[in-house]
C-alpha cells in the first residue's frame, strides 16, 4: 500500500473562495492510502514546496496528490519538488480543483463536493502509480534551416557562430529572399542589397554553414534531436564544382522569352540564368521549359561557350538524406493574387502595379534600370496614386482578415523616395489608418507628409478606370472633407496583402507543425513562446510565423537560433516516460494500433514468445518510445487489451472512475 500525502492549495481566493479547502482536507484524510493531508495558501510557492518536501521526509510518503490549478501550470514544479525530496517524480498526481472546479462553480457546497471527488480520483490513481524513468534519446548536433531569406540566413549565422553545423535549404537558385528584391529599407533608407549581401557572403563563407539552393525538403521523419530529412537537389544542369560564375552562358543564350521571377515578371530573362547579379551561389540554372536544347535537342550554345566545361545536360535531381537535431522554418511570404480585385484594374492596365513591382522598377538593377517610368509606354509619370489595404483587414471572402503590417511603412518610404528624386511628381496616398508602431517609424511617416509633401487622403478608392488616353481615373473619397474624389493618375500602386509562401502547407504537414487558417505557422504560446512550434524540435523564424518587418525578423531569427543552440547543446534528451507498451502475450499482431497512431510510433516484429510454456514466433507490436507522445489512441483501439499506457494504465483509469462513482 502506498503512503500518500494530499496537499490542497487555496490559490489565494481563486480556489478558497468557492471550495471549502478545510473540508476537503478533512474528508480526504479518511481515504485508503492517505497518511497525511494539509492545506496551504500557495502550494507552488517556495514555502508551499517546502511543506511538501518536509511532509515527504517526515511521514515517509511514497506518493503525493496536489489539489490545485491545472497540471499545465505546475505539474513540472511539483514533480521537481518531489524528486528533490527523494521520491520518483512520476508518483505525483494533480487534481485540478481550479479550472475544472472553483472557476466554473458558484455554489460552495457543490464545488466542495466536486473537489472531494476529484481528490479521491487522484488518490485512487496514485495508489496504482509505479515509479517511471524517462528514456533518453540522442541529439544530432546539426540544424536544418528551411528558407534562405534574411530570417533563414540570420538564424543560420547565429547557430553557426555558436559552434554548430547548419544546413540551409532554399528552393530558388539563390539565397537572399524577398529582401534581395527590395531597393531601400525603412526607416533608415539603407540600400537593401548593401546590407544583405555581406550577410549572404558570411553565410556562404562560414565553415559551419552548408547551403543547398534550388533544393526542397522532400520528406521528414524522426523526432526532436533525431530528425531524418530527405532533400531534393533539383538539377541545375550546371556543375557547381566547375562553374566560375563568368556569366557568358547567360549573355549568349538565344532563348530570352522566360519571365524573370526576380523582377516579378516585368521583364525577360534567358533560359540559363542566375536570378540577380549578387546571387549566391553564383551558379546559373537552366529553366527546362525555356531551354531550346532541352525541348528540341537543338542549340547547346552555352555548353560550347563555357570555358570551364560546367554545362551538363544529363544532370538529374539528386535526393540526399541527412540527420538533424532541430529544424527551423523560415519560408517567408509572397503577395496575394489580385484576381479578386478587378475594381482596381490590375489585370487591365500595365500601369496599375503592386508595391513589390514598384520596388523592382525603382531599383537600379530592375527592369527599367531604376528609372521611374510607366510600364505601358515608358513615359515618366506625373501623378502617382497609392492605394492601401488591398486585400488586408477584410472580413468578406475575398481577402485576408489580418493587417499585413509592413505596407503603411513601405508606402511612406516609396512616396518619400519618389518625391525626393522627382520633386515635380504628385504623390497621393489613399489610406484607412497609418500604422507606424516601430522605433522611429511615426517620425519617418511624418517626414513624408511634412517635409516631402506627400498628399495623404483618409478614404479608400472604389474603382480605378483606365481612360482612352492611357491615363487612369481614380474614384476615391476624402472622408475628412466629405467629398468624392475623381483624380487622374498615370500610375497606381496597390499595397497588396502578404501571405505565407505557397508551399508552406505541404511542409507543415511533413513536419506535423501547427498551421493556422491563414497558413501562418502557429507558435507554442502567442505571447511567451513566439519562436517555437508546439511540435518539439521545430522552430519558427520570420514571416512564416506572422507578418513582420526586417528589424523584427532579424530579432526573431536570433531568438530561434538560441532556442536551437539550447537544444543542440544537450548531449541527450529526456523522453516522456508515459508511453504505450504492448503485452506480447496478449498481442495478436492485428495492426489496429499502428493504423491509429498519429505519430507513426508503432511497428511490428516477429518475436519468440513463451506463453505459459508454449514457445512460438508471433508478430507483435513494438512502440518506439521516443516517438510515442502518450496520446492513448492505441490503447483504446486495441481489441485485445494488449496495449496499455504507462502512467495512465487501464487499471488506473478504471480506479479513477470507481472513485468518482462512489
Amino acid at each position: 500500500m502506498q503512503r500518500i500525502g494530499v496537499f490542497v492549495c487555496h490559490c489565494g481566493s481563486n480556489i478558497a473562495a468557492t471550495v471549502d479547502v478545510n473540508k476537503v482536507v478533512e474528508v480526504i484524510k479518511a481515504e485508503p492510502g492517505v497518511v497525511h493531508a494539509e492545506d496551504y495558501q500557495y502550494m507552488c510557492s517556495e514555502a508551499g514546496q517546502e511543506k511538501i518536501a518536509g511532509a515527504i521526509k517526515e511521514h515517509g510518503l511514497t506518493g503525493i496528490v496536489v489539489c490545485s490549478c491545472s497540471p499545465r501550470m505546475h505539474e513540472g514544479t511539483f514533480r521537481k519538488c518531489a524528486e528533490k525530496a527523494g521520491i520518483n517524480p512520476y508518483m505525483v498526481e494533480i487534481a485540478n480543483i481550479r479550472e475544472q472546479c472553483s472557476w466554473i462553480h458558484k455554489d460552495i457546497e457543490e464545488a466542495t463536493k466536486k473537489a472531494v471527488i476529484l481528490a479521491r480520483a487522484a488518490v485512487a490513481k496514485v495508489n496504482l502509480n509505479t515509479p517511471l524513468k524517462p528514456g533518453e534519446s540522442r541529439v544530432t548536433k546539426r540544424a536544418l534551416v528551411i528558407g534562405g531569406g534574411i530570417a533563414g540566413i540570420q538564424t543560420a549565422l547565429d547557430i553557426a557562430d555558436a559552434g554548430y553545423e547548419v544546413d540551409i535549404v532554399e528552393k530558388t537558385p539563390s539565397i537572399g529572399g524577398r529582401m534581395s528584391q527590395l531597393d531601400k529599407t525603412f526607416p533608415t533608407l539603407d540600400c537593401s542589397a548593401c546590407i544583405l549581401t555581406p550577410k549572404m557572403v558570411d553565410a556562404s563563407a562560414h565553415e559551419k554553414i552548408n547551403i543547398y539552393t534550388y533544393s526542397e525538403v522532400e520528406k521528414v521523419s524522426g523526432f526532436v534531436g533525431d530528425f531524418t530529412v530527405d532533400i531534393r537537389k533539383k538539377a541545375r544542369y550546371v556543375d557547381m564544382t566547375k562553374c566560375t560564375g563568368c556569366g557568358v552562358c547567360q549573355e549568349k543564350c538565344p532563348s530570352k522569352k522566360g519571365l524573370s521571377e526576380f523582377n516579378r515578371g516585368l521583364n525577360k530573362r534567358s533560359a540559363i540564368y542566375t536570378p540577380f547579379a549578387q546571387a549566391i551561389p553564383n551558379v546559373p540554372v537552366i529553366d527546362t521549359d525555356q531551354c531550346i536544347k532541352m525541348k528540341t535537342g537543338k542549340c547547346g550554345l552555352c555548353e560550347k561557350v563555357c570555358q570551364a566545361g560546367a554545362i551538363d545536360y544529363t544532370q538529374k535531381d539528386e535526393i540526399i538524406s541527412e540527420k538533424y537535431g532541430a529544424i527551423v522554418v523560415a519560408t517567408g511570404f509572397d503577395i496575394i493574387k489580385l484576381d479578386q480585385y478587378d475594381e482596381y484594374a490590375y489585370s487591365q492596365s500595365k500601369d496599375v502595379i503592386t508595391s513589390l513591382e514598384l520596388e523592382r522598377i525603382m531599383n537600379a538593377a530592375g527592369p527599367t534600370k531604376g528609372h521611374l517610368e510607366r510600364l505601358s509606354d515608358g513615359k515618366s509619370p506625373k501623378n502617382i496614386v497609392f492605394i492601401q489595404c488591398v486585400g488586408s483587414r477584410c472580413s468578406d471572402n475575398r481577402g485576408k482578415s489580418y493587417c499585413s503590417k509592413i505596407c503603411c511603412m513601405y508606402t511612406a518610404k516609396h512616396a518619400m523616395l519618389i518625391r525626393d528624386k522627382y520633386p515635380d511628381v504628385n504623390v497621393t496616398v489613399f489610406y484607412i489608418d497609418v500604422r507606424t508602431p516601430g522605433k522611429n517609424f511615426d517620425e519617418f511617416y511624418r517626414r513624408a507628409v511634412e517635409e516631402y509633401g506627400v498628399n495623404y487622403i483618409k478614404g479608400q478608392v472604389g474603382k480605378v478606370a483606365p481612360q482612352p488616353d492611357g491615363q487612369l481615373m481614380v474614384h476615391g473619397v476624402d472622408l475628412i472633407d466629405n467629398k468624392q474624389i475623381k483624380m487622374e493618375a498615370d500610375m497606381v500602386v496597390l499595397a497588396a496583402a502578404i501571405e505565407p509562401e505557397s508551399s508552406v502547407r505541404k511542409l507543415a504537414t511533413m513536419l506535423t507543425a501547427s498551421i493556422d487558417t491563414n497558413n501562418f505557422l502557429t507558435e507554442a504560446h502567442p505571447k511567451l513562446r513566439p519562436v517555437e512550434s508546439p511540435t518539439a524540435g521545430v522552430f519558427l523564424s520570420g514571416v512564416s510565423q506572422g507578418p513582420k518587418d526586417i528589424p523584427e525578423t532579424v530579432a526573431q531569427a536570433g531568438a530561434a537560433a538560441i532556442k536551437v543552440v539550447g537544444l543542440l547543446a544537450k548531449d541527450k534528451l529526456l523522453t516522456n516516460p508515459c508511453t504505450a507498451h504492448s503485452d506480447e502475450l496478449l498481442c495478436n499482431g492485428c495492426s489496429t494500433c499502428a493504423n491509429v497512431c498519429p505519430y507513426g510510433a508503432i511497428s511490428y516484429e516477429d518475436k519468440q514468445v513463451n506463453d505459459h510454456g508454449i514457445r512460438e514466433t508471433r508478430r507483435v507490436a513494438v512502440v518506439n518510445t521516443a516517438l510515442c507522445q502518450g496520446c492513448g489512441a492505441c490503447t483504446v483501439a486495441c481489441p485485445s487489451g494488449a496495449m496499455d499506457l504507462q502512467g495512465f494504465s487501464n487499471r488506473q483509469i478504471i480506479a479513477e472512475v470507481d472513485a468518482i462513482c462512489r
Binding site: S395, D396, R398, G459, V461, V477, L479, Q484
Partner: protein, 129 residues
C-alpha cells in the same frame, strides 16, 4: 415617428446588417454613383444607425437617391452592406402613412410614351408602400 431606439433596432432587423463591422474606410462612398446627390453619404449611414440618429436618416434625401446598384455591397471589405441599411431606412419611411415620395398624380407629367413598364413598376415599388 417611433422613438429613436426602436427605429434603429427596426432598421438593423429589416436590413440584417451588423453595423459594428464597419472599419470606416470609405470604399462605399468612393464607389457610389449617387454620392453627389446625397446629403448623408454612404459611409455615414452606418454611423447614424450606431448613434441611433434615425430622425436625420429618415428625413434625408439620400433615401430616394440610392439606386440599389450594390456597388457598395460588392466592394465593402468588411461585408457591411451599407446599401441594405439605407434601403431599410427607406422602408421604414414608406411604411408610414402619407410618406410616399411619389404620388400617382405626378405621373402624367413625367410620363413619356417610350417608357418601359418596368420603370413605373419599380418606381412605385421603391417610392411608395
Amino acid at each position: 415617428m417611433e422613438t429613436s431606439f426602436k427605429s434603429a433596432e427596426l432598421i438593423r432587423e429589416i436590413s440584417g446588417v451588423n453595423p459594428y463591422k464597419c472599419m470606416k474606410c470609405g470604399k462605399c462612398s468612393a464607389s457610389c454613383p449617387s454620392y453627389n446627390e446625397m446629403d448623408i453619404k454612404p459611409h455615414q449611414f452606418v454611423s447614424y444607425v450606431l448613434n441611433e440618429d434615425i430622425e436625420s436618416l429618415v428625413n434625408s434625401k439620400s433615401l430616394w437617391k440610392c439606386l440599389s446598384c450594390f456597388a457598395c455591397v460588392e466592394r465593402c471589405p468588411r461585408d457591411v452592406k451599407p446599401g441594405k441599411l439605407i434601403d431599410a431606412a427607406r422602408q421604414v419611411v414608406v411604411r408610414q402613412k402619407d410618406q410616399d415620395y411619389l404620388s400617382p398624380n405626378e405621373i402624367p407629367e413625367l410620363l413619356d410614351p417610350d417608357m418601359p413598364q418596368q420603370l413605373l413598376v419599380s418606381a412605385f415599388r421603391k417610392y411608395r408602400r
